[in-house]
Subunit: 321 residues, 2 copies
């Protein structure tokens, strides 16, 4: 990738944050032989603002767009969030509004305005509909149940939804962008939990005469409360939001970021901190660009030279880009 783009690898790649892929080598080989690809990523708009975990695929997709100079499509699944929400007070219109709000945060990452198409499904269903129908016809409910764990008390919209997320993997869903190039290669950067959708998409592709999309997956981004906890959009203190003020950020990190440091200063200086479980270190390992500084922090914190308050301060001061 460095050779093809003349750019250093993104820290997400150097550090294994994007840690697995499907057919990435094919996309690169095609690119080398002169066939451009397009990028596809997305978001389910469930909260007013995005948190740090949400930003990872977008930051990385923007990097890929800039490095390869390729088009990018971004799907906002307001329809999905409405169909899957258990909150009966929330209306479709609420998810449409969240999609609109989220689009601003996503574009702020620095996508190329000339090469990026961001859309809410409720605004763009029409052009995708033929592909959605073709995908739906190629997947039985038994298969979808095995992949997504649906059950019979689910509403009837959920069952067909995976086809809506699959459709942008095929360039013919974007006639206004790609014209007659109906089988352009597609690369999907996404969090690993989205892989089931795209395994289904890859199974279906040959039946429709389409190319399988390639994938590159990012690993799980932990909640402030620790490595094996999950961020929840409905519990504000489990995550750092892009809309948090400097003061909120400081409070959240100091109060909630799980520490791998010693229980007392004396103990910490004696045994050092545990970077494997320390959330401040973990977040820095995602977002601190400078490899040498990260390594220095790791050593100082592990040896006890850097205190818990100090590593938290590093995170609080970190610009995310």
């Amino acid at each position: 990738m460095e050779r093809l783009t003349g750019r250093p690898l993104h820290p997400f790649l150097r550090r294994g944050i994007f840690f697995s892929h499907r057919d990435l080598h094919e996309i690169l080989a095609l690119y080398e032989s002169g066939t451009k690809f397009y990028l596809y990523t997305g978001r389910g708009p469930s909260s007013d603002a995005l948190h740090l975990g949400h930003m990872i695929p977008f930051l990385f997709t923007q990097y890929l767009q800039e490095a390869f100079q390729v088009p990018c499509v971004i799907q906002l699944t307001d329809d999905e969030k409405f169909l899957f929400s258990k909150d009966n007070n929330k209306k479709l219109e609420d998810y449409q509004r969240l999609g609109w709000e989220n689009a601003k945060d996503i574009l702020a990452v620095g996508f190329d305005v000339e090469r990026t198409f961001i859309f809410r499904n409720t605004d763009y269903i029409h052009s995708m509909y033929p592909n959605i129908l073709k995908i739906q016809k190629a997947v039985t409910y038994n298969q979808a149940k095995a992949i997504f764990g649906f059950d019979d008390s689910d509403n009837i919209g959920k069952h067909g939804f995976p086809a809506v997320q699959a459709a942008p993997s095929f360039s013919s869903s974007f006639p206004q962008l790609f014209g007659s190039q109906s089988n352009l290669p597609c690369l999907i950067p996404c969090a690993i939990d989205q892989d089931p959708y795209f395994r289904m998409t890859r199974d279906v592709a040959p039946k429709l005469g389409y190319r399988k999309p390639a994938l590159i997956h990012s690993k799980f981004f932990p909640a402030l409360q620790g490595e094996n906890t999950k961020m929840s959009a409905s519990v504000a203190n489990t995550a750092i939001y892009v809309s948090d003020t400097a003061k909120q950020l400081k409070t959240k990190v100091n109060k909630y970021a799980f520490s791998g440091g010693g229980a007392t200063i004396e103990e910490h200086q004696k045994h050092g901190g545990n970077c494997d479980i320390d959330i401040s270190y973990k977040y820095l390992s995602f977002f601190l660009q400078d490899d040498q500084e990260l390594e220095r922090i790791r050593q100082d914190y592990s040896s006890g030279k850097m205190l818990t308050g100090e590593i938290k301060a590093k995170l609080i001061q970190l610009p995310i880009k």
Copy 2:
């Protein structure tokens, strides 16, 4: 209805061909008090041409439109026919083409061009999509299974489809037609086999804050082969198509129209024909406008005065309008 419109009842009403309804009196009461309704009917485009049975709801809807001077929307479910077809050689594009062809036959019935909106779902899904999602969210798979007999080996597009047929029952699916009048009363003339879709629609309506659509149902139209046989779009000789030539029509009626007449002329003249099972008489009872002539034919045929060849000739010469 005669009093409201100043027109004689359509033969379909006088003869009980439209034989049952849901809330029709409410539509008429609203109309009388100055609230106009709109008409909604449709077709699944599965064949190049429509047969006589298909024409019944359209002929009747056109009559209602003219009598009440109201708007009419006509849905062509190319998506449904694709999702439900077992013929894997037929593509989505084939059903789109059939939709286009069928639209011509339907409009030829004489709909008011200023007041009629006919659309294929693959062209018009966008404006209906918010209502489709809201309907889907209000119906569980268990409910849909009980109504439509789905099973788990069905493709995942089928389960959500009933919401696509339901959506035009709500005037907010047509913002370009009805603007801010988002809760106009709707009357759906349809064949009785479509009732399950609209029972579901009527169950869902109050949950969405919408008015239940009213319905008026036509009875089963038999195949040429006899009262309890079903017309099949794939077996050309079971039905008379609007595209049949005069020669094809003559051959079909003479060769295939099930006769209730006697086995020989002598027997026929002695015992008479049986109008209850005679397809020529049955078809005349749908389409012959003149009540007195129909009654004369019934008497003459029943008494044996009119021969089988003669009643068939009546049907062959009948203009359908």
